[in-house]
């Protein structure tokens, strides 16, 4: 573990972070350790965001730094490593629903789930119901996360939940929704299991749901 690297990433000092990584790589140092430091740094970034010390730019920029680190480290580690290494906590199918192309919120949710150990299958934007159904059939996720910013998204979310139900998949999954204007009222209308106001809420929900699931099935 390098305290210096954890600090450089969590304080979003890109140049320092990349220099430290390069140095470790040149010295033939602990590459898995770098990925663990990334994970540790992202925990700090996430909790600062939750406390209101950090905002979206810090989340996005730490993601950019992580991407660069991973570009340096991954080729040397082989194909099997994830962004932050380690076994996955669960699978999340994610997408912005039909008719809506907004992706800032979805991308941040995907990124924070990824760095928190989830296997995220991002279907992109303007995703029709049948594509969600197909992805859930194939990936067998524990969690489906629907994103949307426009008011038209409420109906698309609702029809996506209905389509999953009709395909007999609803009982196997928990569904969360999120987006600029999502409230309890929208959650009830859509018949989702929960909604969240930001990316950390998505991580909390996913953790809660996958832990509960693991307890039930084991």
């Amino acid at each position: 573990m390098s305290k210096e690297l954890v600090e450089a990433i969590s304080e979003i000092r890109e140049d320092d972070a990349l220099r430290l990584v390069e140095e470790t790589v040149e010295k033939g140092g602990d590459l898995e350790g770098i990925l663990k430091d990334c994970q540790e740094a992202m925990n700090i970034v996430g909790s600062r965001y939750e406390k209101g010390d950090y905002f979206l730019p810090e989340l996005i920029m730490s993601g950019e730094v992580l991407k660069k680190i991973s570009d340096i480290v991954k080729p040397k580690l082989g194909a099997s490593a994830g962004t932050t290494g380690g076994a996955k906590k669960g699978i999340v199918v994610l997408g912005t629903v039909k008719g809506d192309i907004h992706d800032i919120g979805k991308d941040i949710v995907g990124f924070m789930l990824d760095v928190n150990g989830f296997d995220v299958r991002d279907l992109g934007v303007d995703v029709p119901e049948e594509k969600f159904v197909e992805a859930v059939k194939n990936a067998k996720p524990q969690v489906v996360a629907l994103s949307g910013f426009l008011t038209l998204a409420y109906d698309s979310m609702k029809s996506t939940v209905q389509a999953l139900d009709k395909a007999g998949l609803r009982k196997n999954i928990k569904i969360m929704i999120g987006g600029g204007q999502i409230t309890e009222m929208v959650k009830d209308y859509v018949k989702a299991d929960a909604f969240g106001m930001d990316a950390m809420a998505a991580v909390r929900l996913a953790k809660q749901w996958t832990v509960a699931k693991a307890e039930v099935t084991s």
Binding site: F55, I101, I104, L150, Y154
Partner: protein, 448 residues
């Protein structure tokens, strides 16, 4: 043809039938209210001006807008404002006449044919690149690349013509092949050969066709604001003016995209600030004074907060990149005789303290997701506040829930005046018309 209903405007297809439609709306209003449009206009305008000037009006005024809501209300596709201007303006005036708000705040409309011909890449629109009933959406992108700041700063016109326009309009892609346009006064004639090539001939053709379509569209659209005035409904603001909105959002929305501008704040903050200052300098230079002959408060300048709301920027980022240039442009608008009208989108509670830096009574603040009751507490003595009935409530709530919500807004925020009721945004096309009616009527029903 749609079946004939009370809101059916499908038969309004010519300017003549539109004029007839306006006459009908005027007659109905006179019958219903027993007042002339002029009388109604005066009453509504006074109510509105009183609120803007932080006086206590006879009751809380209410604003209505919503281009797409008008289409839906009258059974037209959302594409109608883009492709069917006469039917659309019939729907819009019908919607306003039926709901009877005190003030109309319209959004800009654009010609779908122009966007089609130019092959616009930075926006999606109904009936063009979207199905006819899906609302328009902007495509956030890097239309100025990270290594183009120097060109933008040194020669913005050259950047615009050779880099920006070819990226944003497919039909103008050949412009990217032009040589640098700076310092061309002497060698201009040498450039002429370029324009003889088939692809540049096509560019010229597209521009000509787009210009013709633009003219046709504008003629058909006419002046809807004036039509509504003739029916007794004052507009939120007349004409433009003032020094414009936040330079940061122009940079983010028009040029760099959200992710681009985030990385710039970390990787090239000096260049970003230089670009913001350049945009701001242009805003200040172009601003024109308010018309001294016009009575009442003149709204102008201000602009909308997009990427500057609480969740998008920290206070430090806001203070470094967002606020300095914007504050300058608003002070300039105020100096020129305007009252800047700010639309603080998203959540903006962390920005309250900055709004207090602007002179008292010299701005109007409209909110969307911000807690209106907190806003009233913090800013109620400082300037007129507008907002914010959630469009989600208008869409999914019951009429009685909407009524309760509006009642509370009027009673709490309306206290002492300086408050105007309004939906959070103009994107209320999915709202139930009966809920919108409850919202507008609540202003007549309840008092602070």
């Amino acid at each position: 043809m749609a079946t004939s209903t009370a809101t059916d405007v499908s038969g309004v297809t010519t300017e003549e039938s539109y004029r007839e439609h306006l006459r009908r709306l005027g007659d109905e209003s006179a019958r219903r209210t027993g007042k002339s449009p002029h009388q109604l206009y005066q009453e509504r305008q006074k109510r509105f001006w009183d609120a803007i000037e932080m006086k206590e009006p006879d009751r809380v005024p209410v604003i209505l807008g919503g281009n797409d809501f008008a289409s839906k209300y009258c059974g037209l596709p959302l594409s109608s404002s883009y492709y069917d201007p006469i039917r659309w303006k019939a729907a819009y005036t019908k919607m306003i006449a039926d709901f009877e708000p005190d003030v109309v705040q319209s959004s800009a409309t654009s010609s779908g044919a122009v966007l089609d011909i130019l092959e616009a890449k930075n926006t999606l629109w109904p009936g063009g690149t979207l199905p006819p009933d899906v609302m328009h959406q902007a495509i956030d992108g890097e239309y100025l690349k990270e290594d183009e700041y120097d060109l933008f700063l040194e020669d913005t016109a050259d950047f615009t013509i050779r880099r920006y326009l070819p990226r944003v309009y497919g039909a103008l892609a050949p412009l990217a092949k032009l040589p640098s346009l700076g310092d061309r006064a002497a060698g201009f004639l040498a450039l002429l050969g370029t324009f003889a090539s088939p692809e540049f001939q096509k560019v010229a053709q597209s521009l000509k066709r787009a210009a013709e379509e633009q003219t046709k569209y504008r003629q058909a659209m006419g002046n809807v604001g004036a039509d509504l005035t003739s029916l007794g409904f004052p507009p939120m603001s007349e004409g433009g003016g003032g020094a414009g909105g936040p330079a940061f959002d122009q940079m983010a929305n028009t040029y760099r995209g959200w992710k681009g501008i985030v990385t710039d704040m970390y990787r090239r903050p000096e260049k970003l600030i230089a670009a913001l200052e350049k945009i701001n300098k242009g805003q200040l230079a172009r601003a024109t004074p308010a018309d001294p002959k016009r009575k009442g408060p003149q709204l102008g300048g201000g602009g909308a907060i997009h990427r500057g709301s609480d969740r998008f920027l920290s206070k430090k980022q806001w203070e470094t990149f967002y606020w300095p240039t914007w504050k300058k442009s608003m002070l300039k608008s105020i100096e020129l005789g305007y009252i800047p009208s700010i639309f603080a989108e998203g959540f903006c509670e962390n920005r309250f303290e900055y709004f207090l830096e602007l002179p008292k009574g010299k701005v109007v603040l409209r909110f969307a997701d911000t807690d209106m009751f907190k806003a009233k507490e913090a800013l109620g003595d400082h300037c007129c506040l507008i907002g914010a009935v959630p469009s989600t409530l208008l869409q999914l709530g019951s009429p009685s829930e909407v009524d309760d919500y509006c009642k509370k807004l009027i009673q709490v925020c309306g206290k002492g005046g300086g408050y105007i009721l309004r939906s959070d945004t103009n994107a209320i096309q999915d709202a139930k018309p009966e809920n919108v009616k409850v919202m507008v009527d609540s202003a007549r029903k309840y008092h602070p």
